[in-house]
């Protein structure tokens, strides 16, 4: 890790808590809370799926998102799209041809940075399911306020006063950008700066993953 401690203090994210294998019957699952934002993700697969949706070269990834209200909306489709594209770039689907992998996300609490929390929970659930992956990924959200200050992992109060919010997903190998989506308008320089800040902060998420995996790895073998 190149970042020294002084810098790390600057990149503070809300406290993360996670329980892997939270759901008994799915192949992999995780509940993750980032601050007060909570999401549960369950991963099932590789499963047998109907002929129509099988693809001969790789696993078919299906993402289902259900919001707290349970009523499907266009916004949910967008979230599914974001999560599917992110997971697809991470999973080594070519090892499981003609099968399906289902990722189900349930919203529990949304207090800012919800989609980032979902994505991180997805990564933990995929690790828990033992699916082969190219890399892990970490999502970090940030908000830019009227003065142009960047606030990492914003709380709802900070979101209200912000002019733009952004979420970036980085992969673990070279910290290159996997997924990004933004809200609001902002300048190029703010965008680049926010991305760099989030990139550095993604280290914290990767450390957290390692900590979670370490917790159970030594005893299961």
């Amino acid at each position: 890790m190149i970042t020294d401690n002084d810098e790390l203090k600057d990149f503070k994210l809300r406290p993360m808590k996670c329980e892997c294998n939270y759901l008994n019957r799915s192949d992999g699952s995780a509940i993750l809370s980032q601050g007060q934002t909570v999401a549960v993700v369950s991963v099932n697969g590789p499963l047998d799926i109907k002929m129509q949706s099988q693809s001969i070269g790789k696993a078919t990834l299906e993402v289902l998102f259900s919001s707290k209200g349970g009523k499907p909306s266009i916004g949910d489709r967008y979230k599914e799209h974001v999560i599917r594209q992110t997971c697809e770039s991470a999973i080594l689907g070519c090892l499981y041809p003609r099968t399906g992998i289902t990722v189900t996300i349930q919203e529990l609490e949304d207090y800012g940075g919800f989609l980032a929390c979902c994505l991180n929970a997805c990564c933990l659930a995929l690790l828990n399911a033992g699916l082969a992956m190219r890399h892990t990924f970490a999502a970090v959200s940030c908000a830019i306020d009227e003065q142009g200050n960047i606030q990492l992992d914003p709380a709802p109060a900070q979101l209200e006063t912000s002019r733009a919010t952004m979420t970036f997903v980085f992969e673990s190998r070279e910290k290159s950008l996997v997924t990004a989506f933004t809200d609001g308008s902002y300048s190029d320089s703010a965008y680049s700066e926010a991305m760099e800040r989030c990139r550095s902060a993604s280290d914290l998420v990767f450390q957290f993953y390692k900590q979670i995996v370490s917790k159970y790895s030594y005893v299961i073998g």
Partner: protein, 285 residues
């Protein structure tokens, strides 16, 4: 012969082109397709535009309606955008309820319009809490040849630019509404958001950024639609979305931002020229 080669070795076929620094349709990596724009394509709509950008063609129609504003936002009107992807436009889509990709595209387009704040919704309000305009902006894709969001945004903005709101008088006592179509005002627009799509392909160890990808290129880059969409409005970014495709390094990012900025200016000129021509024509008739 090349068709057979393309079928048997789809990836190698594409790689062969990329290694020669050219794209399958003969463009260079950062070259975009020509934009052909035609405004007022549907006479029965209140405003409309038709765009052809390479093989992608999208038609946009705006319908005006009057409604009561929402109680939470009594001084705001409504701008409702919707993108339709009928089976006509590509073999990927089936008839029936809107597919996932249509919903995702709709969502991206409406997000861009909302984030850019190019239409001030308070302008659409006629009498607070009583009467406001609803702009139903329907975009129908006739042919999906890639970079759909770009085309949707351009047609939508061109239509909005030609839109004229009739004068409405509202009598608070009798609640009588009078619409005078003879006196029309232009809709005020704050800037002109222009989106630029990119496909990102990993060839050997380098990332190749393809500007304004065709649907074939989008498929090869593994995304549903474009991998990266950048949207500029008055020099400010108002949307940046990246999904799938190859992972993205910093220098590619800077290059993409620059290209998007240039394209925003170019597209803006296209729209301006097109509307100027249209207006001069309608005035002379």
């Amino acid at each position: 012969m090349s068709e057979v080669y393309k079928l048997i070795h789809p990836v190698k076929f594409f790689n062969d082109y990329i290694s020669k620094n050219v794209r399958p349709d003969g463009r260079s990596f950062s070259e975009q397709r020509n934009i052909k724009l035609n405004v007022d394509a549907i006479k029965t709509a209140d405003a409309s535009a038709l765009i052809k950008c390479g093989n992608t063609s999208v038609i946009c129609g705006i319908k005006l309606e009057l409604a009561t504003p929402k109680a939470e936002e009594p001084n705001k009107g409504f701008l409702i955008t919707n993108v339709e992807l009928p089976p006509l436009c590509s073999s990927k889509y089936r008839p029936g309820p809107p597919s996932d990709s249509a919903q995702v595209t709709s969502n991206i387009v409406s997000d861009i319009i909302n984030n850019s704040k190019c239409v001030d919704l308070t302008d659409l309000c006629i009498v607070p809490d009583k009467l406001a305009w609803v702009l139903y902006c329907d975009m129908l894709c006739l042919d999906n040849g890639g970079s759909l969001v770009d085309a949707c945004i351009i047609t939508l903005m061109a239509s909005l630019k030609t839109l004229r709101l009739p004068t409405v008088t509202y009598d608070p006592e009798t609640e009588d509404i009078k619409v005078d179509t003879n006196v029309q005002t232009k809709l005020k627009l704050n800037g002109l958001p222009i989106a630029t799509s990119f496909a990102i392909y990993k060839y050997m160890d380098r990332n190749v950024t393809l500007v304004d990808p065709s649907s074939y290129e989008e498929d090869m880059c593994g995304g549903l639609g474009a991998n990266l969409i950048l949207c500029y409005n008055k020099g400010f970014l108002c949307s940046s979305q990246k999904f799938g495709g190859s992972n993205f390094s910093v220098d590619c990012e800077e290059k993409a931002l620059k290209i998007a900025k240039e394209r925003a200016q170019l597209a803006e000129e296209v729209i301006d020229v097109c509307i100027k021509n249209y207006e001069s024509k309608t005035n002379t008739v």
